[in-house]
Symmetry: C3
Subunit: 262 residues, 3 copies
């Protein structure tokens, strides 16, 4: 059984999601549809890109990931098909696949052009339903990707902030905030290992807040402590034990985070 | 594989939804269950009716749509089965199916009476779980609709506001607001074509707000503009490009919308 | 087809849920995954326990229920497997299964230890994805529960408030509030039957509010009335007809509820 996942900014339980599912099931009633999330902030391509990169590799080989955060719907922006690792992706060409591709370069990219596998009526404002959903359903039935459209070699990227590692000091930022209020940074476990941090516990700073040491898990410090851990996605993360770090510390996405020798 | 969809006012991720799914899967573990939405405002039959009409026809033939917005649960109100087009519907008789039926008259309607296919214990407050879910599951297994109960010819309706088209002027209203804040009116593309709008761009008005012209898609105007498009459901829609029209304009469901020659 | 349910505090549409689903489908792409809820308040083990107990028995025999409300993740707390009735449960040993077990004592409990069926890399902060999801997927493929780890006879419990029945008076409390704002108490229909309430309608009190009589369903009283019914889960419930009792009465979980002869 093939799996199709959906990642959108349509909002939780939007009927737009159901419309896409109806279209998919009308073409292939045997496919398994899984929601990645529909809670991407409206038109926040960057957040969509990060969420997709965080979870897509957990899915089986040949999963088809459909991502629709698409402020340019109906304009000249392309719709992309990409083969990345052993999975397929369909998304507007606006950077939505850029975080996945930073991790794993695509094996093939095509512009989705073959309109005979789209819905017969295509609106100008909902290509997720009228183009991307039927294309994904056709792929799940074995339609060959090479028939979708011509190869493309370039895609629209996003400016991702860089992490600086120098002289025993790492400078990064908060990339996302999870539903517990944990601050997920863009500083990887590898960056922590490679930085020439001197012996002793590093000091992690974010805005006016400081915490010392990087722990295995939240339960390693008392309730309400600010704690740093390497989270389940492999990134340095700041949390308030039993609480909500984002609310307590009043920190938002983009805030600078530093790691320095103590 | 048969599909059963669920449309309720139970709230996102309410365990009441899971109870219905458990009941369905206990009877037919091979059925595909799809959420249309559970975010209908509590007891808002009108909103439920609109959402159902917007998405149901996207699903495969023989899909069974179960809709539960049911303030009269346990009272004398009937539970309806309807065959509409090539799909089945189960819902309380309170107008919840009226928007679907305005689009496509039912081929058959029955009162759901055959209690031997209900749960053995039926509560007075949750017929979605105790009656509608098991009936849908039985239908998905091939139970014949004609055995559900006697035919009915009348059902409870809702007063839908009328759209007036006269002398080059259309008067309608905001029927729903989507998760992007777009204002979806009840003015169809057909009404726009039929109105004797004079040459030139029409002026669309809503409350104190005015916009000129009807565009193909949001990206056809600059960020933050108020724009009118014919949306993906075939209705005239007012949007703020890259923003939230409902919040920005402080417009709610029911607000009057006019289209006039310029 | 086997069913796996998920009950977590990850938040609605959290990508953490999708990560668990990806892991499960990568091991068994034929399993049916159903969300019970992801809207448990963060780290609210008690609420998770109640929701699980409310809906699990609606699912088919051999359903595998995975519950992840896990503030102690990565610490010495155990992960439990339990066979309860004809279903399987996997959860941290923190009381999350205690409400289910109050209703039905477990037939077997084991500590989940067999790390060869976990993901090859196990984070310290997300055992739902790295241990519980793959264990559930393996069970759905027929992996024998007795190979998961050694039997355990004790588990962590929760202090559940007691309901007192004495002299024609019942004292209980509000156990949960549903998405309609209905106040679900811990007073069962059995307790109501067993209490020596004298003839006449009982008086139900909650905070400064009083209502007389226990009705079949909400529609038995006029709009905006405070009404008591025995709800669909078998518990006494206070509702405002067509409204939201929790908001209107300003009552929260834990509030005392009394039933007395009139």
């Amino acid at each position: 059984m093939r799996v199709i996942t959906l990642t959108t900014d349509f909002g939780v339980s939007s009927p737009y999601v159901a419309a896409m599912k109806g279209v998919i099931l009308d073409i292939n009633p045997e496919v398994m549809i899984v929601d990645v999330t529909h809670a991407i902030a409206p038109q926040d391509v960057r957040q969509g890109a990060l969420v997709l990169a965080e979870v897509c590799h957990r899915f089986p080989a040949d999963t088809i990931h459909v991502a629709v955060v698409d402020p340019g719907v109906g304009t000249q922006r392309k719709i992309l098909f990409a083969r990345i690792g052993d999975q397929d992706f369909i998304a507007p060409d606006n950077g939505l696949l850029s975080a996945v591709m930073r991790r794993t370069p695509p094996r093939a990219m095509r512009q989705v052009m073959a309109s005979h596998v789209w819905l017969s009526e295509v609106s100008a404002t909902f290509h997720g339903r009228d183009i991307m959903a039927p294309v994904a359903a056709q792929l799940s039935l074995g339609f060959e990707a090479k028939k979708l459209g011509p190869p493309v070699s370039e895609m629209v990227g996003l400016d991702w902030p860089e992490v600086h590692v120098q002289g025993g000091r790492i400078e990064g930022s908060v990339a996302s905030i999870d539903s517990f209020g944990n601050l997920i940074t863009d500083i990887t476990a590898e960056a922590l290992a490679e930085a020439s941090l001197t012996e002793g516990e590093p000091v992690i700073g974010c805005g006016p807040h400081r915490t010392r040491g990087i722990y295995r898990t939240y339960g390693d410090q008392p309730q309400s402590s600010l704690i740093a851990v390497v989270g389940s996605g492999g990134y340095l993360e700041l949390a308030v034990v039993g609480g909500n770090a984002s609310k307590t510390l009043e920190i938002e996405v983009g805030a600078a985070v530093t790691v320095a020798s103590s």
